[in-house]
């Protein structure tokens, strides 16, 4: 099985080369302009920026990220089950359906509690 991954290894290296090549090629070709301070300013539609750059962050980002991680883990549990589906009996299918229903209940709980609103 490892020789399947030998190709992947080569492919990763080739992909990295393709990732690094364009800026290197462009470095030879592009004009090396003088840096005047106007060019190097941060872009804010022509106005000067003031204040720190990071934004005071809504807590909703974090709630969505947690919900995503939990449903992600659920999906990862379901993937091997889906692979073995053809060889399983009906009770195994029902077990997985219970798994899904418990998490569906969790999703509805989130919905009712208003954690899915983006205020």
């Amino acid at each position: 099985m490892l020789d399947q991954f030998a190709f992947i290894g080569f492919f990763l290296i080739v992909a990295l080369i393709f990732g690094v090549a364009p800026p290197v090629m462009a470095w030879f070709v592009r004009p090396k302009g003088k840096a005047n301070p106007r060019k190097l300013e941060t872009y804010e539609c022509g106005m000067r920026t003031h204040g720190e750059t990071w934004v005071q962050f809504k807590a909703q980002y974090y709630t969505f990220a947690i919900a995503f991680v939990l449903f992600d883990v659920e999906a990862v549990f379901l993937l091997p089950w889906a692979l073995a589906y053809n060889a399983l009996e009906l009770y195994a299918v029902v077990e997985a359906i219970i798994f899904i229903l418990i998490l569906l209940g969790g999703l509805f709980y989130l919905w009712r509690k208003g954690a899915l609103e983006w205020m």
Binding site: M1, L2, F5, E52, W54, Q56, F57, A59, Y61, Y62, T63, A65, I66, A67, F68, V69, L70, D72, V73, E74, V76, F77, L79, P80, W81, A82, L83, A84, Y85, A87, L88, Y91, A92, E95, A96, I98, F99, I102, L103, G105, G106, L107, Y109, L110, K113, G114, A115
Partner: protein, 165 residues
Amino acid sequence: MTFQHVLFIVFGAITLGGALMVVTRRNVFNAALFMILSFFGVAGLYVLLEAPFLAGVQLFIYIGGISILIIFAIMLTRDMMNPDLIGRNSQWIAAAVVMVPLCAILIWTVSSHDWAAAPGPVPENSILTLGQALVDQEGLALPFEVASVLLLVALIGAVTIARER
């Protein structure tokens, strides 16, 4: 020194090097990026152990989910970009007194134990076996359902904590 040994050393170096950079960087965002590199090294180690599904899970959940979660949590912290925060504190002597013997005990235990090799070659269809075992009544069916309850508890907990105004 087969090719697998070389690859193991490479991936191990990536993992440990990334982890070392995580704890020594001042800039928290850079530390998070090195953590992602470290996770990548762990995925490579899983591939060497002939568990490609776990490597995929590592990429999918750790890099695609938990790293994002940690970076979001970093951004929720208010004073994170302040470089004046002290990198070390005054209690490092007490910490060293505890950690050095612990480290020595761990190294001695690991190096003096006889780590047995795996009992045989990896089964051909390991993901299929995993899938069948997850719902097998004499297998992991109960932990499977308990895992879903655990995830439910985590969901409810997240909502409760986040809604505390």
